[in-house]
Amino acid sequence: MTYLAKPKLHHPDLPANALGFTRRDYEGTISTLCAGCGHDSISAAIIQACWELAIQPHRVAKLSGIGCSSKTPTYFLDKSHGFNSVHGRMPSVLTGANLANRDLIYLGVSGDGDSASIGLGQFAHSMRRGVNMTYIVENNGVYGLTKGQFSATADRGSKSKRGAVNTDEGIDLAILALQLGATFVARSFSGDKEQLVPLIKGALTHPGAAFIDVVSPCVAFNNHEGSTRSYDYVRNHNEAVNRLDVITVHREITAEYPPGSVQEVRQHDGSLLRLRKLSEDYDSSSRISAMSYVQSRYAHGEIVTGLLYVEPGAGDLHESLGTVDRPLNELGEKELCPGSAALAKFNASLR
């Protein structure tokens, strides 16, 4: 835990984005997590992604549950809306907020304990309903905040810091998200910002349920030999299947790639997701082959990272419910209570 404030001075050449903000304008207060925690790198990646997208901070709602990971929204975007829910309940609070005001950008930050243990049901339903959000799980395989018990994502056979072996099967949240109908599913590593930042940008611009499982080493309780979430283990078993470039509407497309090596996905808001394939036979437009690829590589001890699946024509919960375009929280009494004549007419329609 650091008590000093981060100096306000910044690099003299620090660039500003289209809004005139520098990256430093997207920071929060200084982190109180253990020095070296992967979660801090994910915060830095979120800051970078929001800066690059020139998102207006007050247009973002960041919600979380309980855990070291769930504390992190304090450490980025201090000009945004924030909500710390009870343990595992971020998805339902977020769903409610999203229904009330569909105009904000929703960022849910959670941990593997928060989402795969106590909040597993919440996680599942937000995915299958297609809530328009970016759901980031900072996955360290342990309950960091409560001192390092195995979480439900810990791999069977991995060892705790004190040598205990995990005998339960680990939950792969990315596979679950795929199976539950999430329309943007990715996995990354806190130590690889080059991969992570574009994935967060892609998720933030994605118009449906976007899920990113970010492997994030807990330096205090899960960075030892025998752990499958340590910096060394992840670096040695990381198989990146592609690299994503997010091209927002305004930017010209200049880079050139050999034919067949690139897959492009145009999203609703006009942004373009450009995927450079690293693995020949990987196809991120198929849910089923994504699941089988990830699982077969897992059987070989590899952690597949990259954009695992994206559905170009994705929709969201508002679309399926047919809500009005105007955010519900902006509707006045006149729209919400149209009068007894309208009620009578409605009742008649049900008879």
Binding site: T2, H10, H11, P12, R24, G36, S43, D232
Partner: protein
């Protein structure tokens, strides 16, 4: 890239921009911290050891350290005007509040070593040679043409910038070391001096000749035209106490600034400075120009003097030709007449401050001391030894007119040469500086140094009210920082001597340091050629004068590259590193002066 060897004596020294830029390499951040702690005497002694005249320099130094100060780089784009720490005026604080330091100064040598050294001239260069050699047992004789020691510090620098008492005190500390001072003794012949069998001779005779201006009317109006440095000396000695009401000062250097400000105090009401160049290109330091303007002195530029206008031997004015700066395709400037009619300015007196020259009329050309075609002695720039091995030069006499701190630096270098020469050792071998690295970590999240970065702008030195200051030429115009202001200003120092030390084998490449660094200094990246690596860092390193700190041997095979250029030395990287791969270590660097440490077989010096 080659991993950085932090053991190379100069590596960390270069990071301490101010100390590196100081000709005498004064450990600046160390004394600033001591001032912040109220340890003024300690701060004074650090200075005294390095630069011999802290009280004098704290008021007059040309301060090459300040343009170099990191603060002036990192405040860029975030303050109105990025400004360095007021290093020079903090030095004065140490001198003002130190109390009695006599007991901490070296004593005269208990036993002489039998070697005799003659110094020609009693300015800062010679005094430094004496300070370094006398305590070692050398018999040092200083021959000075004037009545008192100090050189131009005494005779040229106006008393409203530098009170006599400060000169007396600090020159006194040197002469009290049992130095044989011979006032009113002009050396007329080097040959004769050499004939007295000195083991070594140091020439610190300065650059005594002021340039004149040869345009029509010079002779006829001579009574009211003065060469600046001679006029200043006469003012200093009290021979001149008045000046005409309307005064023109010609020239754009610091001497011109001293002339015009002195004239304002001697009755000049309409005093103006007229320069050939533009305002920005003037040789005077920015603060000297500011001071002049503050005292109501206009500076007119791009005017080339044409003639002195006079009536019956009385000066009535001057005419000037208007010019403009024209640059050729190589960026060279020339001043070209604009074709406008000549301008005339009325005046009663003119002070000519258009430059200073060396002159060695007392050195016969057949002594073995060779001179180049510009009349300057041929010297080895490191050892300051002339072509006659026993004769050394320093200060303005060595490389032309410079300033006090260069004179001091030369004095130290010449003293080392003389010490080795007198012992029959190779003069070309120079002693390394002392370098000591001490971790500043006290406990978890506890550091010995104050690493909070304050956003404050530079503090101004309070001045005496102008109406009072202009009444008396001996009234010191700057009041100096009081302890409270000094503390505030000291807080602006970034502690550039507290170094970031990286140990690759401890690093787990977690990126914590990269993420926290407020200046984006740190990058973990693939190895490559320096120029190419510099371009692809998190923040490109565009200042080639500042090194990249490279660490290799990381598990992923990447290198750690840190741009030293804009590091705040805030310690955030070390604070956030889980493994202690970064540490903050204070590099205390002190030059080795004449004495046992500079001699053959000396053990490497270690700080206590």
């Amino acid at each position: 890239m080659k991993p950085t060897d932090i053991g190379t004596p100069d590596y960390f020294h270069k990071v301490v921009d101010c100390q590196w830029a100081c000709p005498a390499h004064t450990p600046v951040p160390e004394y600033i911290r001591l001032i912040a702690q109220g340890r003024y005497a300690d701060a004074y002694m650090i200075n005294w050891t390095s630069n011999v005249f802290p009280g004098i320099l704290g008021r007059t130094c040309d301060r090459p350290c300040e343009p170099a100060c990191r603060r002036g780089r990192v405040e860029e784009n975030q303050g109105e005007k990025p400004e360095p720490v007021a290093i020079c005026r903090l030095k004065r604080v140490a001198a003002d509040y130190k109390g009695d330091v006599k007991s901490r100064l070296p004593r005269p040598a208990a036993k002489k070593n039998g070697k005799r050294v003659a110094c020609v001239g009693g300015g800062p260069a010679s005094l430094t040679v004496a300070r370094d050699l006398a305590p070692l047992g050398y018999h040092v004789t200083i021959f000075e043409a004037d009545q008192r020691a100090g050189g131009m510090i005494r005779t040229q620098i106006p008393k409203f910038r530098l009170p006599e008492s400060v000169i007396d005190e600090e020159v006194g500390y040197v002469l009290d070391l049992d130095v044989d001072f011979r006032p009113n003794h002009r050396v007329e012949s080097l040959k004769e001096l050499l004939g007295h069998g000195y083991d070594a001779v140091f020439v610190g005779s300065g650059a005594p000749r002021g340039r004149d201006l040869d345009v029509p009317g010079r002779e006829e109006a001579a009574k009211h035209i003065h060469v600046g440095i001679e006029w200043l000396a006469s003012v200093s000695f009290g021979h001149i106490t008045k000046v005409g009401r309307r005064v023109i000062v010609l020239g754009g250097g610091n001497t011109a600034m001293d002339c015009c400000r002195s004239a304002r105090r001697l009755g000049g009401e309409d005093v103006k400075v007229i320069v050939r160049s533009g305002y920005e290109e003037m040789k005077a330091s920015p603060w000297e120009k500011e001071d002049a303007v503050h005292e109501g002195i206009p500076i007119l530029n791009f005017l080339v003097p044409k003639a002195f206008v006079h009536e019956q031997g009385r000066l009535t004015g001057m005419t000037f030709e208007k010019v403009q700066a024209v640059y050729d395709d190589k960026g060279r400037r020339s001043l070209v007449p604009t074709g406008e009619p000549e301008q005339h300015f009325e005046c009663d007196e003119v002070l000519v401050a258009v430059g200073q020259e060396n002159a060695f009329p007392w050195i016969e050309r057949d002594t073995g001391v060779e001179f180049d075609k510009w009349g300057m002695p041929v010297l080895d720039p490191k050892t300051l030894q002339s072509t006659l091995p026993s004769v050394f030069f320093g200060g303005d006499a060595a490389l032309g007119p410079k300033n006090i701190i260069w004179a001091v630096a030369h004095g130290h270098d010449a003293a080392i040469s003389i010490d080795r020469f007198c012992r029959g050792e190779d003069v070309a071998v120079r002693p390394p500086a002392l370098m000591n690295l001490v971790s500043q970590k006290m406990g978890i999240h506890e550091w010995i140094y104050d690493n909070q970065i304050v956003p404050d702008a530079r503090n101004r030195v309070p001045l005496k009210e102008l109406t009072i200051a202009l009444k008396d030429i001996r009234q010191e115009v700057e009041l100096g920082f009081d302890p409270e202001l000094a503390w505030k200003e000291a807080q602006r120092c970034l502690n550039c001597d507290v170094q970031t030390v990286f140990v690759p084998k401890l690093c787990i490449e977690c990126d914590a340091c990269v993420d926290i660094c407020p200046m984006d200094c740190i990058t973990f990246t693939a190895d490559g050629e320096e120029a190419e690596v510099r371009a692809r860092l998190n923040a490109p390193a565009r200042n080639p004068a500042q090194d990249l700190y490279v660490g290799a041997g990381l598990k992923t095979g990447r290198i750690m590259a840190k741009d030293e250029d804009v590091c705040l030395h805030c310690g955030m990287c070390a604070e956030r590193c889980p493994t202690g791969a970064w540490d903050m270590q204070k590099s205390f660097i002190e030059m080795t002066h004449a004495g046992p440490g500079c001699r053959e077989g000396a053990a490497p010096r270690k700080a206590a």
